[in-house]
């Protein structure tokens, strides 16, 4: 294995902070800094500074801004690419060289954040939120950083780390404690040396396993919500949903169902019946829910910029499950973030090529009282998909609805052109003329004015 020089190590600080080092590079990186005091000190400084520098500058654009930038890029490219006004508009939304260039430009732009970790290197879990002092492999991790298999996660008192696994499972560790991820993405094994963790495991495949291993028990689960705490007296397992199998060192297995708990230190180690639970105030405050939602939205955007739409979808699914605790009890900030997540989900489905699901998700936004600008974005996006896939009548209806929900919205002009072009492509010349006339009345010098004049049968007028 080629060793890294100090300059090479320094050039990898950002990749290390973002969890983007591949396993071989990670080994070389860490073996160098373990033997080089100067690099070790410098790495500690920069791994702590990078999140601070990023937090201080403007955040990445939200999903709606991204959509508008995409449209603007396409519009600019179309403007430059087409020699005649009539062909110019077609180039904007029919796959062509101009659109390909726009897509390339967009991909470049969407990679701008570059904070998204790769899909597989560096283990199968990533840090979603952090609170308090937490180290991974003796280093302070960044949000969204991958957690390498075998690296110890150490939490100080009151520290909390929430991690999301590639499978979509979520693990929340509370300090003081120490744990590590072993096994693989298909056979998850979390070794809990001390402290407490809560896990929410869903959608495990038939041949996949998920287990939490302590000194005295192995808790095997399949689709459930549970917690494991390690104390000097033994391990305690509590199940909120579903059922887990607790295997003891002697081979004895006990099933623990929802509402039940199990203490390995108890004399008979029997399952305790569900306790009588009285309603209590939510343990998660609205501020925490909002912050968690915003962190998730950032992670989703980063994943999409990195081209990993499926990972983005997993994060959205998890975040929406968490934020459902709020259920309207929190204020506008939480609601706005929830709307943003729903919009991001639709965009991620679109990016993943799951177009039918994307169409449903965009339409759902229109029906659930999202802000009018967001509804216009969603309707415009869904109309584009429908037009691209030949569903012209549906596209026409959605372009028209996009016009109606936000007459002063940023995409109004684009939606008007979409309605005009779609009506024309569907053979509804009368409707196309209506939209063309309307366009010329409102945007006489607009990008599509020449096309509109032609459709309106008024090409001679300047």
């Amino acid at each position: 294995v080629t060793e890294l020089r100090c300059a090479d190590v320094e050039a990898r600080f950002v990749d290390a902070a973002d969890g983007r080092l591949d396993p071989a590079d990670s080994v070389r990186f860490h073996s160098h800094i373990e033997g080089c005091a100067a690099c070790r000190e410098r790495a500690a400084v920069w791994l702590a500074l990078i999140p601070g520098l990023r937090a201080a500058v403007a955040p990445a654009p939200d999903a709606m801004t991204t959509r508008r930038m995409q449209i603007e890029i396409e519009r600019q490219v179309a403007r430059r690419a087409a020699p005649t006004p009539a062909r110019r508009w077609r180039a904007w939304w029919i796959p062509a060289a101009g659109l390909a260039a726009a897509a390339a430009a967009l991909v470049l732009w969407m990679r701008a954040g570059g904070h998204a970790p790769p899909a597989t290197p560096g283990g199968y879990a990533a840090i979603q939120t952090l609170r308090g002092a937490v180290t991974v492999g003796d280093r302070a991790p960044a949000v969204a950083a991958r957690v390498p298999v075998g690296h110890a996660i150490v939490l100080s008192a009151d520290a909390v780390a929430q991690l999301v696994l590639d499978s979509g499972a979520v693990v929340r560790a509370q300090g003081p404690g120490r744990l590590s991820f072993e096994g693989s993405a298909r056979d998850v094994a979390i070794r809990l040396a001390s402290g407490k963790l809560e896990a929410e495991v869903t959608h495990r495949g038939q041949d996949e396993t998920f287990a939490v291993v302590t000194d005295d028990v192995r808790v095997a689960v399949r689709g459930t919500k549970f917690s494991v705490a390690v104390a000097p007296s033994g391990s305690r397992v509590e199940v909120s949903e579903g059922r887990v199998a607790v295997e003891r060192a002697g081979g004895r297995t006990t099933l623990v169902s929802a509402g039940e708990s199990f203490d390995s230190g108890a004399d008979d180690s029997e399952v305790a019946p569900p306790a009588v639970v009285t309603p209590s105030a939510p343990t998660t405050s609205c501020a925490e829910i909002t912050r968690s939602c915003q962190t998730a939205a950032r992670a989703v955007r980063a994943s999409m910029r990195g081209g990993d739409a499926e990972r983005a979808l997993r994060i959205v699914t998890d975040a929406r499950r968490t934020s459902s605790d709020a259920d309207g009890n929190c204020g506008g900030g939480a609601r706005a973030c929830e709307d943003e997540l729903r919009y991001l989900r639709a965009e991620a489905l679109n990016q993943a090529g799951r177009l039918d699901e994307a169409v449903a998700a965009y339409h759902a936004l229109d029906g659930k009282g999202a802000p009018s600008a967001m509804r216009q974005n969603a309707l415009f996006a869904v109309a584009q998909i429908e037009a691209r896939t030949g569903r012209l009548s549906a596209a026409a209806a959605d372009f028209e609805r996009a016009l109606a929900v936000a007459p002063r919205g940023a995409l109004y002009e684009d939606a008007l052109v979409g309605a005009m072009e779609t009506a024309r492509a569907a053979g509804d010349d009368a409707r196309a003329r209506t939209f063309a006339t309307r366009y010329l009345g409102e945007f006489p010098r607009g990008l599509a004015a020449a096309a509109a004049r032609r459709i309106a049968g008024d090409g001679a007028r300047p």
Partner: protein
């Protein structure tokens, strides 16, 4: 939720601090540093964007980093402000 005035003030001060640090950098170094460290582009991507060689970008980022390290050594309070800003994520 609207952040409280103290948080807003702290965020503004942190932003001003970062802007001041960046302003001290030579333009080529600043561009490379911002693209790589703040925006997360790889060295190769930065090189493509700036029409420079990867080696040149590495040197620019290295020089920018050294400059910022020197400035933060002179102002340990600023370094702790930046580290704490990361903790507020």
């Amino acid at each position: 939720m609207t952040p409280g005035p103290e948080r807003v003030t702290a965020a503004r001060e942190t932003l001003a601090l970062v802007e001041a640090l960046l302003a001290e950098l030579r333009p080529k170094r600043r561009a490379a540093f911002v693209l790589h460290v703040l925006e997360g582009y790889s060295m190769e991507e930065v090189a493509a964007i700036l029409s420079a060689s990867t080696a040149a970008v590495k040197v620019r980022v290295h020089d920018a980093r050294r400059h910022i390290e020197r400035r933060l050594k002179q102002r340990p309070d600023a370094a702790s402000v930046l580290v704490n800003a990361g903790g507020r994520l």
